[in-house]
Symmetry: C2
Subunit: 323 residues, 2 copies
């Protein structure tokens, strides 16, 4: 198959991979100035967008094109999960070097399509252009029952702090990727989580419907960077019990805990639960473990407790402007 | 005022310029994982997004930061106008070099805010990161009465072809910008149109409400690149009467007509009107001239007629992958 050589051909290739009749939650998708879509009665629209940039969020020589396609959608959908919403459709903004419109582009579209199917999120439109580096921006549109969205504001002193899954796995996977020579073929559990994150959609929807969480967000930059954001939105502080933190297995404990506190890209949910409801939180929801890792406090500081000692938690997660 | 040095400070600066209480069509905007918003009853959501990339769509040394801020929103809103919709809110994805988070960023935000006020489109969220070049992606969310959206598909043989405004002005403005030395301070009419395009929102809404246009789109890449897209969507061809084309004044006719056929960035509306309705189209709508420039044809070719002679119209507009 010939690689596309102009914008119309590139859009045509996308339209081939995402045919018009599939899965049709969107009234009007590709091929017009905009897309048309309606939320169901009683629902609100949830809007979110995310960058995925070569050299910043992925390395062309290291990350398989399929993983780039999967991840650009999955990480944006994770924000919908964090709101307790259901994803419906997305817009893909893609800038490519002319040299990548062939095999790389096809791999990317296959990964993207797999994610779109798995996350039930339909391609509704986008914009394509040429650049020397691969630039991706994805906007996801979802919906949530009016008044049931999980917000960052809402945590109260005394609430318990929970996370899903294990923290630091994606960062451990990235370390592994960096150490490997050449492109990735086989994948460990951690590397798989780094390359193909699975947004916690079922959990988010369940927390919202049951009104279980007083506040929630997804962990994209790392607990030490994200928890302060939830606390700032809620006007509270927090104490994290590091001894309880669910961390990467098969690593030295100190290293695993460091990754657990500061590692990014996990896309697990961080949520708070009022004391009276803590017993309603199961150990796991649909196979994803849920762990109580601390408490919300009145004092607006974020501290960690480790081996009985308390210290301030410094933000050490991902900040593109940091260092 | 100190320039922001990390992602939280950059988001904080954006939140200062776009305070929470302003204009509040969005239930939940900045500061959470996503934004919450609802269209009015009976309306559909219109979704569109657009790149604005340094070196590709603008030059940092030439384009004022204010114009970059204005234009990134205005050109995305133009797609809402082309659908006959009303813009409601937008997501801003911004990647900046660390050296531009001060004066340049402030100028950018001022231009963006002016556009947001003028176009009544509220900032609802976004994503920021660092890159060596300025990368901008804007998603605009609008709404339109169900079933009243202006689509590209819908033109029939015999319909008349109309454009708003004059074509080629923005490209003439860009030529002027390229010839100038250093940054721009004073602006000609053409240059102003290149830097601060005004999406034809009132016209689009009027065409949709009156059911006057059988098909419509906005002209972003140039008539010779965009008209084939409208024709392809409608399964028709077109004949453009170049002698009727509203073009740049104060240029040699041949040059003005070349810009009129191929110049990009005008953000005028191209629309088709059934023969029975042509007399309902005024010479101007709210100060914007409307000109009949040709006919939709059954033959799926796009031709131009000039001085009584007919020739094929070759796409000569903006294609990022072209040349």
């Amino acid at each position: 198959m010939k690689a596309p050589t102009n914008e119309n051909e590139i859009i045509g290739r996308i339209a081939e991979v995402f045919p018009h009749h599939w899965p049709r939650t969107v009234a009007l998708a590709l091929g017009d100035d905009g897309a048309l879509w309606r939320p169901r009665a009683g629902n609100e629209v949830v809007l979110t967008c995310d960058w995925l940039l070569e050299g910043c969020h992925f390395l062309r020589a290291k990350h398989p094109a399929e993983a780039v396609g999967w991840k650009c959608l999955a990480r944006a959908v994770s924000d919908i999960a964090a709101m307790g919403g259901v994803p419906r459709c997305f817009l893909l903004s893609l800038a490519l070097p002319a040299s990548l419109t062939g095999k790389w582009f096809d791999g990317f579209l296959q990964g993207l399509k797999r994610a779109a199917k798995s996350l039930r999120c339909e391609l509704a439109g986008g914009d394509t252009t040429r650049q020397e580096k691969v630039l991706i921006n994805v906007t996801v549109v979802g919906e949530v029952r009016r008044g049931r969205a999980l917000l960052r504001a809402g945590a109260h002193a005394g609430d318990s702090l929970f996370v899903s899954g294990r923290l630091g796995e994606a960062e451990a996977g990235l370390d592994e990727l960096r150490r490997r020579k050449g492109a990735v073929r086989r994948s460990s559990e951690n590397l798989h989580k780094h390359l193909y994150p699975e947004p916690r959609l079922a959990l988010g929807e369940w927390l919202g419907k049951r009104r279980l969480a007083t506040a929630a967000m997804d962990l994209s930059d790392g607990l030490s960077s994200d928890l302060p954001r939830l606390c700032a939105a809620s006007g509270v502080g927090a104490r994290v019990d590091v001894d309880c933190l669910p961390v990467v297995r098969n690593l030295k404990l100190a290293q695993a805990r460091h990754l657990g506190l500061h590692g990014g890209d996990d896309y697990e949910l961080l949520f708070t639960v009022a004391e009276k409801d803590v017993k309603r939180v199961p150990r796991a929801y649909r196979g994803v473990q849920l762990t109580r890792i601390g408490k919300i406090t009145r004092e607006k500081r974020i501290v960690v407790m480790e081996g009985g000692k308390t210290r301030k938690l410094e933000a050490g997660g991902w900040d593109p402007f940091g260092k």
